[in-house]
């Protein structure tokens, strides 16, 4: 173990020791096992295929600390970020810690929405059961560290047959004081049979310069016939680090629709592991990423058709400008028994600068013979004719590029269901790009 890993190991062990005396169910056994796992795995490097283009060196050099901290922050700055529409429940996390005063968990009768921290403190085993059920102890060092030192997050259970129409809002705010620290957030969401819900999950920094590390794991189980719309937006500071592993288990006739936007971060990586585990399971993933000067953004998708008659569709679009860098890796696996699978994967990139870089890799591994699969990748520039058309109508080059870029992004941004979020993301894209195209 190198010096960096051993200091994380030490910090994790101390953290677990500090928890073990408190009342409640702190998952200490799992945590200790995860610490061992971390020791065995270490941090991923370029030798791991999935990390080849996404170096973690810069992240490790930051030396982010594991601490338990509470910050003073102006509440109105958090409140002003709320979705501008009625919600079924709102969970607000500031610097990784649940804030009940700013939250609203009343919800519908039968719907269970709470914080992982509270569930551990009260030893609510019915909610804690989902933790680690899909992720295991972690398949890379960061995930194992998350399990070892997880702090807080949401635990949601939507009971059989219940429909939650309004969004459940998860808002994660980083204050200025968070710089230098590593957050370990863990979400566990279970939709029982035929339940449906709509999650809106956002990550924001109050200060555009703050420098911290969000290390997340999210586990979502959709039982037979369940349906989840999951809208995610990462809009953190350009100096932050964001790592999120999403594990999905989608059972028969269940439907998952994920809409992602990754705009911020010096370094941001999202991995979606989806297992289509029952016939008729269906997953749709849309994503938009934006990376400029000094930014790396990475999406890794791994969709596993493990039974017959499932469908998957992925459409990811990215805009790269300045010396921005992006990695897209879309893997679809169709197992031998997964006949009549339908899988379609598409990735398009708009390069606004010669210095920008994209590594895109669609991978179809198909072992069944009766399937409908397709994939496509494009890497292109702003169209000269379109640019001339806009300029001939009086727009200058920057305005024209802005309109065309938003046009490119709109296919994905428009699939966000909250109108406020769509508007907000458009503004955010424009603002972030106006640094220099």
């Amino acid at each position: 173990m190198n010096a960096c890993a051993s200091s994380f190991h030490k910090a994790a062990t101390e953290y677990i020791d500090s928890l073990s005396n408190s009342k409640g169910e702190w998952l200490t056994e799992q945590r200790r096992a995860a610490t061992q796992r971390f020791t065995a795995l270490g941090f991923p490097d370029a030798g791991h295929e999935a990390w080849r283009y996404t170096s973690v060196e810069g992240l490790l050099q930051q030396n982010f600390k594991i601490t338990k901290n509470t910050q003073v922050f102006p509440e109105h700055e958090v409140i002003r970020q709320f979705l501008r529409e009625p919600v079924a429940a709102r969970m607000v996390f500031v610097d990784g810690i649940f804030h009940p005063d700013l939250s609203d968990t009343a919800g519908q009768t039968g719907l269970r929405v709470g914080s992982l921290g509270t569930a551990m403190a009260t030893g609510d085993s019915s909610l804690l059961g989902g933790v680690g059920s899909l992720s295991g102890l972690g398949d890379h060092g960061f995930a194992a560290l998350n399990m070892a030192t997880l702090q807080d997050g949401v635990v949601i259970k939507v009971p059989t047959g219940m429909t939650i129409q309004q969004p459940i809002e998860l808002l994660h705010i980083a204050t200025k004081g968070l710089s230098g620290q590593a957050l370990r957030t863990r979400h566990s969401v279970v939709l029982e049979a035929d339940a449906s819900a709509n999650l809106v999950e956002r990550y924001l920094s109050l200060d555009s310069e703050s420098n911290y590390f969000n290390n997340l794991v999210c586990e979502i189980s959709l039982e037979d016939g369940a349906s989840l719309i999951h809208q995610r937006a990462q809009e953190e500071s350009r100096k932050s680090y964001h790592l999120c592993d999403i594990h999905l288990d989608i059972q028969g006739n269940a439907h998952y629709q994920g809409i992602n936007a990754a705009l911020g971060g010096a370094w941001s990586r999202t991995t979606v592991h989806a297992r289509l585990g029952g016939e008729g399971a269906n997953i749709e993933l849309d994503g938009f990423y934006l990376a400029g000067e000094g930014q790396l953004t990475d999406f890794h998708l791994d969709v596993d058709h493990s039974v017959a008659n499932c469908e998957s569709r992925e459409n990811f679009k990215g805009i790269l400008y300045g010396a921005g860098k992006a990695v897209f890796d879309g893997l679809i696996r169709v197992r031998e028994q997964a006949q009549k699978s339908q899988a379609h994967l598409y990735n398009a990139n708009l390069m606004l600068s010669r210095r920008a870089e994209i590594d895109t890799k669609p991978q179809l591994v198909i072992l069944a013979d009766d399937v409908k699969c397709s994939h496509g990748t494009t890497v292109g520039q702003i169209d000269d004719q379109a640019l001339f058309y806009l300029r001939s109508r009086g727009l200058d080059k920057d305005q024209a590029k802005r309109l065309l870029s938003l046009g490119f992004a709109s296919e994905i941004i428009d699939s966000f269901q909250c109108e406020y979020l769509r508007e907000h993301l458009r503004e955010e894209i424009v603002e972030r790009m106006s640094f220099k195209i």
């Binding site: 058309y389 009086g394 727009l395 309109l403």
Partner: protein, 250 residues
């Protein structure tokens, strides 16, 4: 208003315009006709500032300025508008947003205040009705999936909203049905005024029944080989271009 003298231009070393002379004054309508490939669109593009053409000789003055020195958008700010032969599709760019941003960019460049949302909406509805463009198309992406005729109407709508000093219509009539032709011509005529000028590129005399030109020019092989009044268009309709080209050689 516009003065073109001995304009010669090429693309990738291939000569396309071989010495064009044209004088357009405020209040006038000029029709440009001529066989396919004679350089009509090229001339229109060079006037509106499209990249990719090399001007080898000649001068173009517009409202007392050297037009060729101006950026494309600066020409638009000074009142030049080109209705394109092939309007470009802009997927994801909302037609209404595009129109409003264009209007405001031009207003801003002229030191005028931005148009407020209510006046804009009123105006765009009114104009869309005049060119019989379905309001639904205003909410869609610019030209994306529009029919040929809808694209042309959309060009005319933009022209009416932007109220140019010098409008160049490049085959706006091609591909239009008879009713659409009428509508487009009506729109253009609404814009005619003593301080505006129009250059209408067309293959068909029919359009000129509706938009009556003061002058008709025939372009062939990158040169104006004949200029005349509107009777010239009728003559062309009857005899084609060949007699002129033969004449030019002789």
């Amino acid at each position: 208003m516009l003065s073109i003298k001995n304009l010669k231009a090429s693309v990738d070393g291939k000569a396309i315009l071989n010495g064009i002379d044209l004088e357009v004054n405020a209040g006038e309508v000029h029709a440009i006709m001529g066989p396919n490939g004679s350089g009509k669109s090229t001339l229109a593009h060079i006037l509106s500032g499209r990249d990719g053409y090399t001007v080898n000789d000649g001068e173009v003055h517009y409202l007392g300025q050297n037009l060729l020195d101006l950026e494309t958008e600066a020409r638009a700010h000074r009142g030049i508008f080109l209705a394109m032969q092939y309007p470009v599709e802009l997927p994801g760019v909302n037609n209404m947003t595009f129109l409003r941003e264009s209007m405001n960019a031009i207003r801003k460049a002229r030191g005028e205040a931005e148009i407020d949302a209510v006046s804009f909406m009123k105006q765009v509805r009114h104009r869309a009705k005049q060119v019989k463009l379905d309001e639904k198309l205003l909410k869609r992406s610019v030209n994306t999936g529009f029919s040929g005729g809808e694209k042309k109407r959309n060009e005319i709508l933009q022209m009416m909203m932007l109220e140019p000093q010098l409008a160049i219509l490049d085959e706006t009539d091609s591909g239009l049905d008879i009713d659409a032709l009428r509508t487009v011509a009506d729109g253009v005529n609404l814009l005619r005024s003593p301080d505006r000028a129009l250059i209408v590129v067309t293959h068909y005399q029919r359009l000129l029944d509706y938009i009556e030109p003061d002058f008709v020019h025939v372009l062939a092989s990158g040169r104006v080989i004949r200029s005349g009044g509107k009777a010239l268009a009728l003559e062309l309709e009857e005899k084609g271009y060949e007699w002129l080209q033969e004449g030019a050689v002789a």
